[in-house]
Symmetry: C2
Subunit: 121 residues, 2 copies
Amino acid sequence: MATTSAAPEDRVFAALANSTRREVLRLLREDGPQPVQALADHFDMARPSLSEHLKVLREAGLVSEERQGRQRIYRLEALPLAEVQDWLHPYERFWRDRFKELGALLDRLPDDEADPAPRTR
Amino acid sequence: MATTSAAPEDRVFAALANSTRREVLRLLREDGPQPVQALADHFDMARPSLSEHLKVLREAGLVSEERQGRQRIYRLEALPLAEVQDWLHPYERFWRDRFKELGALLDRLPDDEADPAPRTR
DNA sequence: TTGACAGGTAGGAAATTCCCTACATATTGT
DNA sequence: ACAATATGTAGGGAATTTCCTACCTGTCAA
């Protein structure tokens, strides 16, 4: 019956669905608050396109902007990500169970190679 | 420089971007493995549309199917969600910092109303 | 004031997503 | 074998997303 209510976290999940936007978040996290240009330097795309992405992030509450002269300094606002973590929580035991199964399986095997081969990408 | 490489987690984030799909995950988590019909009962949408959603979830590794006669039992596969949690990790300190700020602020106020009034937005 | 810089907005094309109605396939009961 | 059940796939339309090239606005420096 649930008509798939549009939760407020909807915007956050949608914002995270794009890798450019996730990269922006990473840049803000690792390099701190910075103007649009500095961010744009990391992408191939036209600057106005990045502006659109910033808008999506803004509307999801994931970044804030502070005007400073003719620049706008964008800053990471991580709080909405706490919602995502909360959302994940009830699933945690499921993957932990899986890990346990896997661990048990490995225990039963001869002590061979622990490393499961480098990811083929 | 980074051309926003399409990470493998891309599929997972994209899968989570839709609330119907998140609802499916919740149903599988709360009610356990079940056939498509049982899931479909919870949605207004045509069953083939749900099938498409299940396909997206399958390709993200978030569910698995087990054929049982003419039914297909879908089961939650939560492991890819661990990737999401890993992705979240480096952000955690940012929102904790925010909480601390908030806490400090509240401490400085007269012990009045703890509830900060519903956001006027 | 004028020009250059920073960055948002408008308008639109191409791709993708989401949902639908047929239809195809496999299994099961009669 | 036949009808009914369970579910996937095809084809297509509408909406949304993503990206582009102009273009507009505000700030700073000469």
